[in-house]
Symmetry: C2
Subunit: 453 residues, 2 copies
């Protein structure tokens, strides 16, 4: 019996209309990246497991898709191992490669591996799928695209500005109103210092990062479990709830963090970034958000998250400054900053707000529909002439019933159908039907071409 075909859970097929929409998203983002002088790279889907393992925490290691070694993998294990070794140890025996989990670690690996060829500051972007063995659920897939853009090899805050400009321009082109939430890891470190828990900065950021999801009470509970004193947790609350303009908040932080060198450095960085934004006439709505922490531990300076204003949705773009991403591969002291656009969420926002432009579609503009074999052959020369003018043209490949050919044009939303019968052949014309208005008229070749000028 034939198999009923399906695809692995958490993965997707993309139909022509979905691809047109995705291509619109990717090409918009790419053209903005190019406008700012970023260059594209690609890395392999498979990386060596020693490149990937240990970079995403224990949980991340489990979520890596691992490739079974080719050939006789079973020769690498024996009954004793099977009985006694851990699943991790056994996996090491039978698998050397995994699918990439994000674009950041492969980028760090790329920079170190190709350091001699790279001109720093290196401005790269990368748009490729990543794979995670997460439990699939609404909006969470096991294969999805990331669109990462990074500047590496400079600690200039002009790079933070540029990424904010890119956010502004990308969402302006999409027509999505957004707010950029910004914070700074140095400010968070300063806060940890002044509340008397300088060693617990990581726990504090990890907990704060969940504020949106689990609420303030659960965050405080988590902080307590992590060993923060009640006094520290109490001291933290008003800081996370500072009000006023970004400038107001920074002014208050200058007082609160006065005793923390790191914290004051963070405040100074934010002042510089806001100053640059003013200088560059940035129109993006930017909100200093002290509750923004971002979970990944490699951030060391500014951190960003972008949210759509008119749709309930998590962050659609996020990133930050890291000072030692390439250190794990033996190249310390290289500072960089980057952000990642979430293509799947942007797709959902554009769908929900119905923001796809008409001209996004690159479908067929004219379909030739012939009554008979001879008419079909007559159409071929016309189709050739149209295509030479860049007009996207199809010839219905069979002289099928006209009703069937018209139904095809309808379903494919082809706007014009050139109907060819004996009369048209005799008069060197086609009967051109506008599928929207229903109007039709006999036209010569040059008239047909002129429709598209």
């Amino acid at each position: 019996m034939a198999q009923k075909p399906s695809i692995p859970k958490g993965t997707r097929d993309f139909s022509p209309i979905e691809m047109a929409r995705r291509n619109y998203i990717f090409s918009t983002i790419k053209s903005v990246f190019a406008l700012y002088g970023f260059q594209q790279i690609e890395t392999p889907a498979m990386e060596n497991l020693n490149t990937l393992m240990g970079k995403y925490g224990e949980e991340g290691d489990k979520l890596l898709f691992k490739i079974l070694n080719s050939g006789d993998w079973k020769g690498a294990i024996d009954a004793e191992m099977l009985a006694n070794a851990s699943i991790g140890q056994l996996t090491n025996k039978v698998s050397e490669k995994g699918l990439r989990y994000d674009l950041t670690v492969p980028f760090a690996r790329y920079v170190v591996q190709h350091r001699e060829e790279i001109q720093f500051p290196f401005r790269r972007y990368q748009i490729q799928p990543v794979w995670r063995a997460d439990r699939p659920q609404k909006g969470r897939y096991r294969e999805f695209y990331q669109c990462d853009v990074d500047v590496i090899g400079t600690d200039s805050l002009v790079s933070e500005l540029e990424l904010m400009q890119i956010v502004e321009e990308v969402y302006r082109r999409f027509g999505i109103r957004v707010v950029l939430h910004i914070n700074n890891r140095k400010i968070l470190a300063g806060i940890a210092e002044v509340i008397g828990e300088p060693d617990k900065m990581i726990y504090i950021t990890v907990a704060i990062d969940k504020l949106d999801k689990i609420g303030v009470e659960n965050v405080n509970k988590e902080l307590q479990e992590r060993g923060l004193t009640m006094k520290a947790i109490e001291a933290l609350q008003p800081i996370l709830n500072l009000t006023g303009s970004n400038e107001d908040k920074l002014a208050q932080l200058e007082t609160i963090l006065a005793s923390s060198e790191t914290g004051m450095k963070g405040v100074a960085e934010m002042k510089t970034i806001f100053g640059l934004a003013k200088q560059a006439d940035l129109h993006l709505a930017v909100k200093l958000d002290l509750c923004l922490a971002r979970g990944l531990n490699y951030y060391t300076g500014a951190i960003f998250e972008v949210k759509a204003q008119d749709v309930e949705m998590g962050s659609i773009t996020g990133g930050g400054r890291y000072d030692n991403l390439t250190g794990i591969f033996g190249m310390p002291g290289v500072s960089g900053v980057g952000i990642s656009f979430g293509a799947d969420r942007i797709y959902d926002v554009l769908n929900e707000l119905n923001l796809y432009p008409e001209e996004m579609l690159t479908g067929t503009q004219v379909l030739f529909a012939a009554f008979g074999e001879e008419e079909l052959r007559y159409s071929l020369a016309w189709a050739k002439a149209l295509r030479e003018k860049g007009i996207r043209t199809e010839v219905y490949p069979e002289p099928a019933k006209m009703k069937k050919q018209m139904a095809y044009a309808d379903a494919q939303q082809i706007p014009l159908v050139a109907i060819v019968g004996g009369d048209e052949m005799a008069s060197q014309t086609v009967m051109l039907k506008n599928m929207l208005s229903g109007e039709q008229k006999a036209v010569h070749l040059d008239e047909l071409i002129n429709q598209f000028n």
Copy 2:
């Protein structure tokens, strides 16, 4: 100690310049596909193994990259299995998914799975990487892109013509002179009949397919091993060596194959295809090549291979007509025809013939190089104005030594550098340096923008 980073053998990183070249190849091919009304789809990198296994022969099954099941995969095997089960049986226990091996089987799976949504004839293209655990060697990778274009749901030979037109147009745009070799599986079947070996058609095509690689003697040896009589092998030789124009060869075949209904049908198809090509004024060099067989067994009609004329290289595009691709997934009787462009080989041909156009590069057009922090801030407003005009602009993010900034521009092949010092700020200008000619002059903003009109 830090790991020395590397990537799995047979895989590649693509640098910015390589990506620019690859993007040029893909966008050229895509725009021709769109001109003929083909629509893009994408399928997941991972397919269920029961979709992939058994579709590429025993050897192909071995070359599939298999994904280790997540979680406790070792629970699925025990010591007894480890001792007694075959590697294939064990693999089945620990792996349910594999990376796609080509785009054809996923396409067939897609068509069957989405048959209710699809409008037939379905004209799709698909450009995605595939993975094969082949032994890596020069020009053979474990991850590489395929560019497939197919019409499915019609047996009209107009589709064969269109694919030939697409071949013509793609290689015209690339500037590569090519010859399209064409043959027909029905003719090959007819030949098998008339030499008295009707049941051995598959062996004959598989052997003939290796003619280029192993030579006529080894082909004949293989045919002998497959059980063909010496008489049959002798009878085969003159047929494979027919000379003259395509029309001459077809005329000879009409005599040779007169007793074979299938063979005569193949001859008729070829006559129709050549007639359509004439009607559509096809300029592509087309050669009826009776030694062309193509290894894959699913072809049933016309088969194609394209070779570059000015470079020694295998086939750079190939494909053919199949009558039952979707049958394996329970949807019989759907005829289609398709071809696949080999992006990696096309890349090599374009490199070897040095055919990449200048305007392919989308790198930065203007770099701002500032002498100090204030000049850097001054540059930001200028950069914004340029980008608003669509001019790809970079601001060197630090007021580094001017020599360093110029070296960066040189290495990145940025054609214009806008140098900003105190004098320029005072006079509301920049010093614009042409990096090719070395000329420089002070310009106002509107003059700078006018450089690009």
